[in-house]
Symmetry: C2
Subunit: 204 residues, 2 copies
């Protein structure tokens, strides 16, 4: 970005470059359809939705002393690596094989666009989310599972049906919600039962 | 949303309804074009971008003791009222006349979908942002001005030119950035100068 005026610190110019770079997340489309069925959702919108859910639902976190800012920060940046690595459908076992490698390479490139201290901070938040090593990460991961479940239900399971996803797969994928937010997992279990009953999801 | 199982608190079901309702923000399009020029941006993506900017640029806040969580919460929900009120272009003096009334009505409806304590909390965060009564609100408002400026510059002022916006108007609209983040305003001033020099913005 111009202008490279000497009165402005290089650090700020570098950060602004990053702000421009991450605009690309708005072009990464997910396997989730908006609740009105009109189109696919992109990663930027999805991340915003999770941040709002974190504000709204923090009372259900397993940890009563949750650091909400940290959880919000994780959901805001959790999908940035998909700018390079693309979205990997969570029920695509083939694509899952090299997902970690693709995303780690993406993290190397993207976070290193930042000033060193922030590169470390962002990478560390992303790692924490990925490995679910803290209660904030487990809560954030629970939201990242609940949101597409709500969308799948609202759109009568159209993506589940398109990809022949079964109840067993959905339960297996979403059970970790229980670690981060037990009551949200109870809600999700009921929603999955209801989806099977209504024919949105194969009961196997 | 089904399922209305007795084991789940009404409060949670009400909150989940709100999560579904706000999905509509992804359909509210702004007068901002993505940096690659491909399409207009929606409010959900925009709000996510501001949240990331808040994380990244908090060191430039006028207040060294900024409550970052509060600033992030404000940018996450600042545009929710546009679900009902629509986006009002910041250089449209006509539309600006009844903007406050339209948005206040929208806030009445939307935030009252929440449990009472959260209705009060969300409405209060939104009001704080609107009147810029705290340093967090002033910082959040600065980001809300800087981001479209970056987009306008990246797209060679296409929206400015389309609406015959002048430098005077842009400076007037964006000068409040100085209150929330003085160095970001210095950056913006340079960017505006450069935009005029390059013919992206009329120099009047």
């Amino acid at each position: 970005m111009p202008p490279e005026k000497s009165s402005l610190p290089d650090r700020l110019l570098q950060q602004i470059q990053f702000v421009i770079e991450v605009d690309k997340l708005k072009h990464v489309y997910r396997h989730t359809i908006l609740t009105d069925g009109s189109r696919y959702e992109n990663d930027a919108e999805h991340s915003w939705h999770l941040a709002l859910m974190a504000m709204l639902l923090s009372e259900y976190a397993a940890d009563p002393h949750l650091d909400l800012l940290r959880a919000v920060q994780m959901v805001i940046l959790h999908d940035l690596v998909e700018i390079d690595a693309g979205d990997t459908y969570c029920y695509d076992d083939q694509a899952a094989r090299d997902k970690a490698e693709r995303e780690s390479r993406a993290a190397d490139r993207l976070f290193n666009l930042l000033p060193p201290d922030q590169a470390v901070e962002f990478r560390s938040l992303w790692n924490e989310f990925e490995v679910r090593s803290t209660s904030e990460a487990r809560f954030a991961a629970a939201l990242d599972r609940l949101q597409p479940l709500l969308h799948n239900f609202a759109t009568r399971g159209s993506e589940w049906r398109k990809h022949s996803v079964t109840r067993t797969k959905v339960v297996e994928r979403n059970r970790p919600m229980a670690e981060g937010a037990p009551l949200l997992w109870s809600y999700a279990e009921n929603l999955i039962d209801e989806a099977v009953r209504l024919g949105y999801l194969a009961g196997e």
